[in-house]
């Protein structure tokens, strides 16, 4: 017997594999990207404090989207992509 697949869907055009370049983990600027959930900032700042023992931290900065329930504005993502080479993101609860 033949049925229609209720999970069938098409991959949108242009959904190509993203690429990432090489980074200098000891010197490249890092953005700590918070999701506005409780303790996200504390977690990321805690990691930054520990990174001070192994790399420079004067170019590690924290930013956060202004709502835990909505995606970060594209402008914020684009600005971060221009300014930093590494992003450390906190997700989930």
């Amino acid at each position: 017997m033949r049925i229609v697949n209720p999970g069938f869907g098409l991959t949108p055009a242009g959904a190509e594999q993203a690429t990432e370049g090489k980074v200098d983990w000891l010197n490249d600027p890092i953005v700590l990207f918070g999701n506005s959930k409780p303790n996200a900032r504390e977690l990321l700042e805690g990691v930054k404090a520990k990174l001070a023992g192994i790399r420079r931290t004067d170019n590690i900065e924290f930013i956060a989207k202004n709502s835990a329930s909505q995606g970060a504005p594209l402008e914020m993502i684009n600005d971060a992509a221009k300014k930093y080479r590494i992003a450390l993101l906190a997700l989930g609860d």
């Binding site: 959904a15 190509e16 594999q17 993203a18 990432e20 370049g21 980074v23 983990w25 000891l26 959930k37 409780p38 303790n39 996200a40 504390e42 977690l43 990321l44 805690g46 990691v47 520990k50 990174l51 192994i54 992509a81 930093y84 080479r85 590494i86 992003a87 450390l88 993101l89 906190a90 997700l91 989930g92 609860d93």
Partner: protein
């Protein structure tokens, strides 16, 4: 740009499924759930785990 994601073990399947949908291979650091609702002492363990994971990413 390289993105490293810290997620709790509970949210790992969601992050992986999202990454698959977006055709990205995430640098994922998994810590115990939860992060929210912990006091400063309890959060230390999550910070240590996240830092250890980040160090592994730096070596990879």
């Amino acid at each position: 740009m390289v993105g490293v994601v810290i997620a709790t073990e509970t949210f790992k399947p969601l992050v992986l499924a999202q990454a698959k949908a977006r055709k990205v291979d995430p640098h994922l650091i998994v810590v115990k759930h939860p992060v929210g609702g912990l006091n400063a002492e309890e959060l230390v363990e999550r910070i240590d785990a996240a830092f250890a994971g980040f160090q592994e990413e730096m070596k990879a």
